[in-house]
């Protein structure tokens, strides 16, 4: 057996486990203190407009390009009524191009400052509507809400369990250690007392040891050795059978990408990012421009996305890693051109002597991704769900009926094979899914 690069060695594992046991009770918990966001100075008070209606209008019409805080395609809009007067804003919103053409110096400068991106005209918005939107944009920024504060407090949620468990275990270990020491001391004292009293504590006659008695009984030895052989055979077999099987392999990726947030909570289709699985042999690692389709707009996660385990700051850092990799400058909303590749760690890796085609299974057979990859939409960290062994493939080929509907390719062969096997539905195995050459060539 040969060891391949990057694989773990037994000795290293041993040392690691030993070290872990030693430092077990010393585990300390670091916590990052999240500084509460400083409340921003309240912009001007609302001037006759309904901020609630304004929010609706803002989300429907403006939010595609503008955010309240921070630049997007267009400039940030919080406190916009301070920068420009209302009459000018009406004109700009109703038709910005006309305003620029008319040579209005403010409009021309604004246009030039924002990459000459043309703002859509909104003639359908009445001055009342615009007043509502301005009222919404004039609202002061909400101060850091309570959830953030509690999230930063140590010992809430899942972490508290871990801490108390460690404390309990440490205390138990301490008690055990004290017991051992006490027993030893008591034993010593008793011996001394016995000696002082003149009692001989050394054993009188050497008894036949248990081990020798066992060795003399040949029947017991025979039974024991058969049992030992069988047991060791069982363990050796189990060990050998898992060689080369990477089930539950869960490497640490360079960017902490949560399938749970994307595919689970936000219900984004697997094939949105892994689009190659529809049409090609490999499912493909999504290129980063696919990430940027959404993350150009989403530069930070919502407060509600953060969990006790992973804070908002942690997730925001991951998005920043993506920006660094693609060279996206968040403040100017442009690509800098300085990119760096992301070294994703491959999880599912079939041996070179097996042929597997994703499109054949995903598009032709219509198999759900979850059948082989497990409930990925629940995985915070991606891992290998299936064994990906040959037995596992064959098992599925034996059980799964081939999807014939709407596939003319199969019509004729289906009829003939159905006649041959005398069955109504054909499994993948009956279609030749067990032939060696189908996957090994």
């Amino acid at each position: 057996m040969e060891k391949v690069g990057n694989h773990n060695s037994i000795s290293r594992k041993l040392f690691l486990s030993l070290g872990l046991t030693l430092i077990f009770s010393l585990t300390s918990f670091a916590q990052d203190a999240a500084a509460p966001a400083a409340p921003e100075a309240a912009p001007v008070a609302t001037q006759g407009g309904d901020p609630v209606k304004g929010k609706e209008l803002f989300n429907a019409n403006c939010a595609a390009c503008h955010k309240l805080d921070g630049k997007s395609t267009g400039p940030e809009l919080r406190g916009v009524s301070e920068k420009h007067d209302k009459a000018w804003l009406y004109k700009w919103i109703h038709n910005s191009s006309d305003l620029i053409k008319s040579g209005d110096p403010v409009a021309v400068k604004l246009f030039a400052d924002h990459n000459k991106a043309v703002m859509t005209s909104f003639p359908q918005l009445s001055t009342g509507d615009i007043d509502n939107i301005i009222a919404y944009t004039s609202e002061p920024k909400a101060t850091a809400p309570a959830p953030t504060a509690t999230a930063a407090v140590p010992g809430t949620g899942g972490e508290s369990g871990a801490i108390s468990n460690n404390i309990i275990l440490g205390a138990l270990a301490l008690v055990m250690g004290m017991l051992v020491v006490m027993l030893y001391l008591v034993n010593n004292v008793l011996r001394k007392v016995a000696k002082a009293n003149g009692i001989d504590v050394t054993p009188k006659e050497p008894r036949v040891s248990l081990w020798k008695a066992f060795a003399r009984n040949q029947f017991l030895v025979l039974v024991a050795s058969i049992f030992l052989l069988l047991a060791s055979g069982y363990f050796v077999y189990a060990y050998l059978m898992q060689v080369g099987v990477d089930q539950n392999y869960e490497p640490i990726q360079p960017i902490h990408y949560s399938h749970k947030i994307h595919a689970g909570d936000n219900e984004i289709n697997c094939k949105y990012c892994h689009s190659a699985s529809r049409v090609s042999k490999t499912a493909g690692i999504p290129s980063l421009n696919v990430c940027m389709n959404c993350h150009k707009n989403i530069s930070e996660v919502a407060e509600t996305t953060a969990t006790p385990e992973y804070s908002k700051a942690f997730y925001d850092e991951q998005i920043q890693k993506l920006y660094n990799a693609v060279g996206w400058d968040k403040t100017t909303q442009t690509y800098t051109g300085k990119t760096q590749p992301v070294k994703w760690v491959r999880i599912h890796n079939l041996p070179d002597f097996v042929y597997f085609n994703h499109s054949q299974h995903v598009t032709v057979a219509g198999i759900e991704c979850q059948t082989c990859h497990g409930p990925v939409q629940e995985y915070e960290i991606m891992k290998q769900y299936s064994k990906l062994t040959m037995g596992w493939c064959i098992d599925c080929h034996r059980k799964t009926d081939v999807k014939m509907e709407g596939n003319e390719y199969y019509t004729k062969i289906h009829e003939e094979l159905s006649k041959k096997y005398g069955v109504e539905k054909l499994t993948a195995a009956q279609m030749g899914g067990l032939e060696c050459g189908k996957c090994h060539y």
């Binding site: 694989h7 594992k13 690691l16 043309v118 081990w211 898992q242 909570d265 959404c294 989403i298 919502a302």
Partner: protein, 181 residues
């Protein structure tokens, strides 16, 4: 007595080794020379290439087999031109296809909603805002195709996820949704 010590030691080691199986490292392989490809694998590290990675951009000016150049440029003027002039090459068999619906539900539904009303899951959860309803926008098949290809404002390009033909199928389905709104 020594035997018992040895057995305990062995059992202890086995338990230690098995309990601390490191899930973030791959397992042992048997005869790895048949497992690992001799040829460079996609995305693999390879010192002979620029930047140490196998994946390289094709030479400048390379085009795909069956590639058709798209003449409208990525600008407001290009958008207006595509909107006015660009016509779908789909024949009657490809119109109203199931495939267009399937692709729409993979690539568009998250934001634009299943009916095209601009209320997809991401909009509902306030991750993406300002997605218009198809009803409120003047769109033609040419303009839809143009936006799918280049993206517009907050929407990114979907040209690397959808082939030219697939983009036309989706454009066709979007118009069907618009007519139903």
């Amino acid at each position: 007595m020594k035997g018992i010590y040895k057995i305990t030691l062995l059992v202890g080691i086995t338990i230690l080794v098995s309990s601390c199986h490191n899930i973030s490292a791959p397992n042992y392989q048997y005869f790895p020379n048949m497992y690992e490809s001799l040829a460079y694998e996609p995305y693999a590290e390879a010192s002979v290439f620029k930047g140490g990675k196998e994946a390289q951009l094709p030479a400048n000016g390379t085009i795909n087999r069956g590639f058709e150049p798209y003449e409208y440029e990525n600008s407001t003027a290009g958008y207006e031109l595509a909107k006015a002039n660009l016509k779908s090459p789909l024949d009657s068999l490809d119109r109203n296809s199931e495939k267009g619906k399937e692709l729409f539900e993979i690539y568009c539904m998250s934001c634009h909603g299943a009916t095209g009303n601009g209320k997809g899951k991401l909009v509902e959860r306030e991750k993406f805002l300002g997605v218009p309803s198809y009803k409120d926008r003047e769109i033609t098949e040419g303009s839809i195709f143009h936006v799918e290809t280049y993206g517009l404002n907050a929407m990114g390009s979907h040209a690397n996820q959808l082939s030219t033909h697939e983009r036309w199928l989706v454009a066709d389905y979007v118009l069907k949704l618009k007519s139903q709104l």
